[in-house]
């Protein structure tokens, strides 16, 4: 059975988490909602409010009877002034009222049957009576606000009671809709997070597959600065290191193979050279004839063979040297001094030095480095001709010392810039093509690197990059 991809597991986990949490919250909310409504709308509350309304009604009737009684009292003699009227109501415990005495003609209520008590303005009880002088009428307005509030409260409670079910449903629906929104949001975020996590993982997976297919040039775009970005960067660095290591291994194998060939070639050619030379010399010496022309011919042939044998021997020596390159003997050395020592060997050449002051001391095999410089200068002289200009420059960049040899020759074609450092490759008509291979080997053995490019003013520029040891202390020195 195929495993569920990580992306979908992350998304499912996030949605499940949101859904589970929401469901638990929904159940809790439903419970608390029911509890909350029950606190406000319940039998006890309803019963209490109904009782309160009954009491309010009784209170209303009592007030009405009181007003009726006071009305009867005040409509009879003796005559009372306003203070006495107020005192009469106060004695009955009716303080929250307004009294007004007005001419009886202004009253449009029939008072012939005595005082009239009625409810006015929905929240007031009104007592109207004719005072004993029959000229004036007294109007007393008693506020019923407290009682009306009780009535309103009961009605509102009844309304809520009627709407309770709808209200509960509405709360639940509102919560469910909000919860659905939360789950939807969680889903969207889950999908996004899932894709954000798994997309680079898939890219890494693809990268490892490409590497397994030996595609070491494959790189993953980093695109982010978090831990996943660092992981991608590490992967790319690992791929780069693999490429570099493979290149070095291949070069080492190539060099070893070439050296073996050179060793065998030197051995196989060198051995018959001496017998050939001796045999030819004997042929010349042993000739006892009198033909001067033939003797001259033999002598010439012998010289040619001897000369070619010497050339071959020289060639063989070159092969042998290449095959027997010694291991490095490193010691603190001044690169500028190495340059000076070599340039001294070429007094007639037009060599311009641009050497950095305070150039750091390097760990070098001075003898091998001398060989490097000689090979490079020879190479430049060959390319530039006798009147050619050569510039040797030293610089420092971070933890690298750079030695550049720049000539005024035709430069190195782009297609030859890598293979030119391989043995037996040469763009010149003469030579075995070992010089730059030797240079390349020595620089690589120093942990450095050599490259060639077009010089700014034309010609070739060979750059040697050599590592600067950590303990190197810059030494003040002016070189020229």
């Amino acid at each position: 059975m195929r495993a569920i991809p990580l992306r979908w597991r992350i998304i499912a986990a996030l949605i499940g988490l949101a859904l589970g949490t929401t469901l638990i919250l929904a159940l809790l909310a439903r419970h608390f909602l029911a509890l909350s409504l029950q606190t406000n709308v319940n039998v006890e509350m309803g019963s209490a409010l109904t009782s309160a309304l009954s009491l309010a009604k009784e209170n209303y009737d009592a007030k009405k009877r009181q007003l009726q009684g006071i009305g009867q009292l005040l409509s009879a003699p003796p005559h009372r002034d306003e203070n006495a009227l107020h005192a009469a109501f106060a004695d009955a415990g009716l303080n929250d009222l307004t009294l007004r005495v007005s001419p009886i003609e202004q009253i449009d209520i029939d008072l012939s049957r005595g005082p009239v008590v009625s409810k006015v303005e929905t929240d007031q009880l009104q007592l109207v009576l004719a005072l004993p002088d029959s000229q004036r009428a007294l109007t007393a307005l008693l506020s019923l606000k407290a009682l009306i509030d009780v009535g309103n409260a009961v009605q509102t409670y009844k309304h809520i009671e009627m709407a309770e079910d709808d209200l509960r449903t509405a709360f639940l629906l509102a919560f469910l809709v909000a919860a659905a929104g939360v789950v939807l949001l969680a889903s969207v975020i889950g999908v996004r997070i899932g894709f954000e996590i798994t997309r680079p993982l898939n890219a890494l997976l693809k990268g490892t597959r490409e590497m397994a297919r030996d595609n070491l040039q494959y790189r993953i775009p980093r695109g982010r600065d978090d831990e996943i970005g660092l992981l991608i960067e590490s992967f790319n660095q690992m791929a780069q290191d693999l490429v570099e290591n493979r290149r070095k291994r291949l070069e080492a194998e190539q060099i070893a193979a070439w050296r073996e060939i050179a060793r065998r070639l030197a051995h196989e050619i060198k051995n018959p050279l001496t017998p050939i030379q001796l045999a030819v010399q004997q042929m010349r010496d042993k000739y006892s004839g009198n033909d001067p022309a033939y003797q001259q011919f033999v002598t010439n042939c012998t010289e040619i063979v001897t000369e070619e044998v010497e050339n071959l021997r020289s060639l063989v020596q070159e092969f042998a040297n290449f095959a027997r390159m010694p291991s490095l003997s490193l010691s603190p050395s001044d690169l500028n001094e190495c340059v000076h020592n070599v340039v001294r060997l070429y007094p007639d050449a037009h060599i311009h030095l641009d050497l950095e002051k305070n150039h750091p001391t390097l760990e070098l095999d001075a003898e091998q480095m001398r060989r490097v410089l000689i090979n490079l200068i020879e190479n430049s002289l060959d390319a530039s001709g006798k009147n050619g200009q050569i510039e040797i420059r030293t610089r420092t960049s971070d933890d690298t010392a750079i030695l550049s040899v720049i000539d005024s020759g035709p430069g190195v074609p782009l297609k030859d810039r890598v293979r030119i450092f391989q043995p037996y490759v040469s763009t010149k008509e003469s030579g075995m093509g070992l010089g730059l291979a030797v240079v390349h080997n020595i620089i690589e053995d120093h942990g450095g690197h050599i490259s060639v490019k077009d010089a700014p003013k034309g010609g070739a520029q060979f750059d040697l990059q050599l590592p600067i040891p950590d303990r190197t202390v810059a030494q003040p020195e002016e070189q020229r």
């Binding site: 009961v154 509102t156 009627m162 709808d166 209200l167 709360f171």
Partner: protein, 204 residues
Amino acid sequence: MTRFFTIKTLAFYLLVSVHPLLAQHIPQDSLYIYVQSDTLRLDATIDSLFSKRAIDAIETGMTTSIAVQFRLRTGRGDNLGLRSLFRRLEHDIWEGQYRLIRQSARPDTQITSHFEDIRRACSELQGISLAQLPLPDEPITLQVRIDVNPISSEQRERTRQWLKIIEKGSYLEFFFTLDRSTFPEWIDLFRFRPSALPHLLDGN
């Protein structure tokens, strides 16, 4: 699948559960449609006009609006007449009086201390004019819809202030409203041909 339907059913129930407060009806045997003085008239009695909850609400003093509407429709869906009876019932709990206010071109008020009088006045409909003759002599359906709403706008405002969570424009108002201003659906009451109706003489 069963669970899916259960959830759907529950959701549907939740959505439609804002049901009307009352379920009144007019029994066929109380229905009498006739022609008098070129006017199509109706006598009818509404059963269960006031539900127990509505009576409870009225008894606490809630002002109640009562709306009864009749409509005549042909088989093609043409409206031939619409008659609306609107009343407002106020209960003065302090004085123990009911005031039934007929809201029409000639409004009048009936005051009584007996709820039974109110019930009768609202339920027993006599000589309600439905339409003027002539009417097309084809099958016509009499439809009715009745709404008794004990929640006045003042009461709604008071309740809204009490339940502070239900503010105007609040999120909760998407799911709940205190306004019950929507009428119930029309109900087919009776099907007749005008030519088949009895004619009453004036004064009967």
